[in-house]
Subunit: 236 residues, 2 copies
Amino acid sequence: MKPKALLFDVFGTVVNWRLGITRDLTTHFQNHPCNHAPEVIADAWRAQYQSSMEPIRSGRRGYVDLDTLHAENLELVAKMFHLELGTPEEKKWLIEAWHRLPCWPDSVPGIRALQRQFICASQSNGHIALAVNLARYNQFAWDVILGAEIVRTYKPAPAAYTRACEALGLRPAQCMMVAAHNSDLAAAREQGMQTAFIRRPTEHGPSQTIDLEPTDDWELTASSIVDLNCAIGNLD
Amino acid sequence: MKPKALLFDVFGTVVNWRLGITRDLTTHFQNHPCNHAPEVIADAWRAQYQSSMEPIRSGRRGYVDLDTLHAENLELVAKMFHLELGTPEEKKWLIEAWHRLPCWPDSVPGIRALQRQFICASQSNGHIALAVNLARYNQFAWDVILGAEIVRTYKPAPAAYTRACEALGLRPAQCMMVAAHNSDLAAAREQGMQTAFIRRPTEHGPSQTIDLEPTDDWELTASSIVDLNCAIGNLD
């Protein structure tokens, strides 16, 4: 059955976060030299991501947005690697690097093509301001921005999927989660959503070891969002 | 100062609700004849709108979405005018007429032009599903859908404006409310937003008496959204 809506994971699936963060760290290091490669710092910053959301998923901490978690995680990484964060403005600019991430080359043409047939929604752990800034930075518009701030929790908490479908007035079976991460798709399928895996074999750099291939029989697997637009035509 | 984001009222400002509701009532009356003109029923249905939101604005009733209020209001109008609502499916189809409203002819080209420079957001009393369906019906996409379901109350409650700006990470002064209704703009200005009035002299039909002209010195006044795109170029 063809879905009515596609819900997209964003970091890694639609945007190349490692390229964008590395680029802005490189600029920062011109004024605040660092002994480590920007890729090392980008990976270390991202590595704090999942554990920083855990207290919110489990209910031990109230909802705070991703700018707040990125700021806290940057402080941790700065201590670990002896980084200078500079003035409050410079630190803020670095945190907002997550609002200026470039799309993978296929993302914008792929989403634009899919929008002719399907509601295309951002279903990210980013908050509304981050999601709208990312889309505008890449010169496209989602049909609707869902995600953490709407559902008040972080994926892969079950409510992150069920409440997003509800907000569209659709049943989970009418919605397809699109992600480059098997764990995201497993959690979406658990709630009754359809699933599509996008291969992003360099999301974590050239020596990536995880999520190189689908680990389950997802409804669709594709090597880009443009390919997903072709593959989805074969459904039903 | 040029705003960063434009927040649009939708019913009346962007879409011609009276035309869409009249069209679908006309279809319904083919199977369930009615002694009244469809325009009379459309106006009566819409006339229940403000009073039905009042218990939610005042906190006496928890948040329910506009489909729920439209259903309750349709029942009231059916009693007043002795309408037959038909089967549950027929009634649902009528309620969903509010998801199938045509834009005024200038709305889509105007919003597309404004999106080159500004975040363009839906800031309607409609819920998320209604807003996304209305945009897709008219073949465009907002940068972001804000509105009642995000802020959990109805305009002109102050929080409906302040929380929408917060969701964009912007101060009210960086946001401009765009509406065909002076009362909406007055409430937005009260919270520190900029304001733009769009003339829609036939929103309520050919003998409209309210909101024909701006009643205050709004930052901008225009006769269409295309004109707004020209007028906003003169700001700064």
